[in-house]
C-alpha cells in the first residue's frame, strides 16, 4: 500500500489528571507513542493503568493536561473543538467495548452516519459503501436490522464497519473483543486487522486479552501511567 509505514499518530510527553481535589489522580505521566499506517498496536496493562485514558486522548475525545498529539503531522493537542471534531470525522475511527451502536437505527444507518457527517459521498454512494462494509464484516444479509435485533458479536461487527466508513487513517479500539465470546473475539479482531491492513490504516487497540495482544504487530505494556 502507498500509505504503509507513514506516521499516522504521534504523542509526546502526555500527562492527564483525573478527578478533583483530594481525589485527583495523575493517570498519565508523560506518555509518548507512535503508530504507523498498516500496523496493529496493542496497549496492554492492568486495569487503571491509563490505557483507555491514553486511547481517548489519542482519539481527541479528551484533552491532555500536558504534552503533544499529532494526527497525520498536524498538531491537535491545542486545537479548538471544531478542528478536533473535524479530525475525528476524517482521520479517526472508533470501536468501543460495548458496541455503542445507535440501537433505534438499522445497521445500514449506523454505518452511514459518519459518511453523512463527512459529506463526501452522494446518498447512493453512501448506501453502496455501507452495504460493501457490512458485507465485508459478514452482515450483508442483515443491513436493515435494527441494532436491537443484532447479537453482541454482530453489533461489534457493525461497529467495526462504522469505524471504517470514512476510510480513516487511524482506528482506535477500546477492548473491542472484551464483551464477546472467544469465537466472536477472533472474528472481530481478524476483521479489524485485515480490513485495516488492506486500507493502510494504523490500528491501536487496548486489550486485556493476551491472545489478541500476541497477534498484533506491536504490543506496548503500560503500568501506572507509563509504558514499561
Amino acid at each position: 500500500m502507498a500509505f504503509t509505514n507513514e506516521l499516522a499518530l504521534r504523542c509526546d510527553g502526555l500527562h492527564r489528571y483525573l478527578g478533583q481535589d483530594d481525589a485527583r489522580v495523575h493517570v498519565l505521566k508523560g506518555v509518548s507513542f507512535e503508530a504507523r499506517r498498516g500496523e496493529v498496536y496493542a496497549i496492554v496493562g492492568p486495569s487503571g493503568c491509563g490505557k483507555s485514558t491514553l486511547l481517548y486522548l489519542l482519539g481527541l475525545l479528551d484533552r491532555p493536561d500536558g504534552g503533544e498529539i499529532e494526527i497525520n503531522g498536524q498538531m491537535m493537542s491545542t486545537s479548538d473543538d471544531i478542528a478536533r471534531t473535524d479530525a475525528r470525522c476524517e482521520h479517526i475511527g472508533f470501536v468501543f467495548q460495548f458496541h455503542f451502536l445507535m440501537l433505534e437505527f438499522s445497521a445500514l444507518d449506523n454505518v452511514m452516519m459518519p459518511m453523512r457527517k463527512l459529506g463526501r459521498l452522494s446518498q447512493q454512494e453512501m448506501v453502496e459503501r455501507a452495504h460493501y462494509l457490512l458485507s465485508s464484516v459478514g452482515l450483508g444479509e442483515k443491513t436493515h436490522r435494527l441494532g436491537t435485533q443484532l447479537s453482541g458479536g454482530e453489533q461489534q461487527r457493525v461497529a467495526v464497519a462504522r469505524a471504517l466508513a470514512n476510510q480513516p487513517s487511524i482506528i482506535l479500539a477500546d477492548e473491542p473483543t472484551g464483551n464477546l465470546d472467544v469465537k466472536n473475539s477472533g472474528l472481530v479482531f481478524d476483521l479489524l486487522t485485515r480490513l485495516a491492513k488492506e486500507n493502510g490504516q494504523a490500528v491501536v487497540l487496548v486489550t486485556h486479552n493476551p491472545e489478541i495482544a500476541a497477534r498484533c504487530d506491536f504490543t506496548r505494556p503500560m503500568r501506572d501511567g507509563l509504558f514499561v
Binding site: R88, Q97, F100
Partner: protein, 395 residues
C-alpha cells in the same frame, strides 16, 4: 415526548379557543354598537374663545390667548355638515338625528323615553336598524307619516305591539303615533328608551323647525374613527366623538377580560414549555451514550444542538397542527352552546370569532415557549465532553 406533545396540543388549542371566545364577544359588541349608533357622532358646534389685549396709540400690536372651547348645542346647518362630511374619503354615510325627551303615553302605562327624529333612508345607511326589526316591517314605517319604531323593551313595558297607537308628549303638546315596527338592538339602554319617528314629526313634536341634535356617521374603516374624528372636528368646528371613545368603559372591560384569558392561556403554554424542558432534559440524560457516539464520529456541538432542536421542532409542528385542529373543533362546539345574553348585545349562543391571527398567535407563543424550553437541554447536550461520557460508561 407524548406528554410534551399533549401539553403543546392543549396549549395551542386552548389559546385558540379563549381568543375566539373573548374576541368573539368583543367583536359582536362592537358590531352591535356600530350598527346602532354608528362609528362616529358629529354634534355640538365648537366656538373658540380668545382673550385679546391690543396696544394703544394706534399700534397694530396685540396679544391673543386661547381660553378654551365653548360648545353650542346641536348642529344648526346639518345639510352643510353632511355635505362636508361626504368629502372625507373614509365616510360611507351620514344621517341627521333630532333627539329629545318625551313621555310615552299608552293605555296600560306611561314611560319616559327619547324620541329620535330620522330620515329613514339616511339612517339605514349608517345603522343596522333595518336588520334589527323583530316585529312588523320597516316598509310600514316608511309609508306611515305618523308611524314609529319602538324598542322591544319599551314596547313590552307599555304592552304595545305593531299597529298599537300611543301618544308622545313633549314641549306641552301631545301627538298620536302608531307602532309601525318593533326593533331590538340587544342593548338594553337603547331598547327601553328609543322611539324612532320621521324627522318632520320630531320637529313638530319637539318644536324645532331647523337644526338637528347630531349627525350619525358611518365609516368604511371603523378603526380609523379616532383620527377621522380629530380631522372632522378640526375642519368642521363641531365636536366629533368616535365609537372607541363613546364605548370606552365597555371596551376597557373587554380588554381586561382578554388580558385575563391571555394570562390563563399563558399558564398552559408555560406548562407545555416545562413539559418540553423536562422531556428533553430526560432525553439528554438517556442519550448521553448516543451523544458520545455522534461526537466521536465527528458530529459537532451544533449538530447535537440541532438534533435536540429538531426533536422539539417535530413535537412543536405536530402539536401546533393538532392544537389548531383541537382549537377549531372546540371553537365550533362552543359556538353552538346555548347562552342567551341581552343587555349589552343580544345573542342566543356563545359568540366566537373566527380569525386566522388567533392561530398564528397561538403557534408563535407555543413556538417561543417550546424553543426556549428545548434550547437549554439542547445546549447542555452539546456541551457534554465525549471523553467524559465514554469513560463513565466504559469504566
Amino acid at each position: 415526548m407524548l406528554m410534551s406533545l399533549s401539553c403543546t396540543v392543549l396549549g395551542v388549542g386552548l389559546f385558540v379557543l379563549t381568543q375566539a371566545t373573548t374576541r368573539g364577544f368583543e367583536e359582536f359588541f362592537i358590531k352591535t354598537i356600530l350598527g346602532t349608533d354608528g362609528a362616529m357622532r358629529v354634534e355640538d358646534k365648537i366656538q373658540d374663545t380668545l382673550r385679546q389685549m391690543t396696544a394703544g396709540g394706534g399700534s397694530d400690536f396685540q396679544i391673543s390667548q386661547r381660553q378654551g372651547l365653548k360648545y353650542i348645542e346641536g348642529i344648526e346647518e346639518p345639510k352643510l355638515i353632511i355635505n362636508a362630511l361626504k368629502d372625507f374619503s373614509n365616510v360611507s354615510g351620514a344621517a341627521p338625528v333630532l333627539r329629545g325627551s318625551v313621555l310615552v303615553r299608552a293605555d296600560f302605562k306611561n314611560e319616559s323615553a327619547q324620541v329620535f327624529g330620522i330620515h329613514l333612508e339616511d339612517q339605514l345607511k349608517v345603522s343596522d336598524l333595518g336588520r334589527q326589526i323583530v316585529q312588523g316591517d320597516i316598509a310600514t314605517f316608511r309609508e306611515q307619516p305618523a308611524g314609529a319604531l319602538m324598542g322591544r323593551v319599551l314596547a313590552d313595558r307599555l304592552q304595545l305591539s305593531t299597529g298599537s297607537s300611543f301618544i308622545l308628549e313633549a314641549q306641552g303638546q301631545r301627538l298620536r303615533y302608531s307602532v309601525s315596527a318593533i326593533y331590538e338592538t340587544g342593548v338594553a339602554d337603547i331598547d327601553k328608551m328609543r322611539v324612532y319617528v320621521h324627522m318632520s314629526e320630531a320637529r313638530s313634536l319637539l318644536k324645532k323647525p331647523s337644526g338637528v341634535s347630531f349627525v350619525q356617521v358611518n365609516l368604511f374603516e371603523k378603526d380609523r374613527a379616532p383620527q377621522n374624528a380629530m380631522q372632522i372636528q378640526e375642519v368642521l368646528k363641531h365636536s366629533a366623538k368616535p365609537w372607541q371613545e363613546r364605548e370606552k368603559s365597555w371596551l376597557s372591560t373587554f380588554r381586561a377580560l382578554r388580558i385575563s384569558s391571555a394570562i390563563t392561556v399563558s399558564v398552559f403554554t408555560l406548562i407545555a414549555g416545562l413539559a418540553m424542558f423536562n422531556t428533553l432534559a430526560m432525553i439528554v440524560l438517556e442519550k448521553t451514550k448516543d451523544i458520545a457516539i455522534l461526537r466521536s464520529m465527528g458530529y459537532e456541538r451544533r449538530d447535537i444542538t440541532q438534533i435536540f432542536l429538531w426533536q422539539a421542532g417535530i413535537v412543536l409542528t405536530i402539536g401546533a397542527i393538532l392544537g389548531c385542529i383541537v382549537g377549531a373543533l372546540s371553537t365550533l362546539g362552543v359556538s353552538h352552546m346555548p347562552l342567551p345574553i341581552s343587555g349589552i348585545f343580544k345573542t342566543e349562543t356563545f359568540v366566537v370569532s373566527w380569525n386566522g391571527w388567533h392561530y398564528v398567535e397561538a403557534i408563535t407563543t407555543a413556538a417561543l415557549m417550546v424553543m426556549i424550553a428545548s434550547l437549554i437541554p439542547a445546549r447542555r447536550a452539546a456541551r457534554l465532553e465525549p471523553g467524559d461520557i465514554v469513560r463513565g460508561t466504559a469504566q
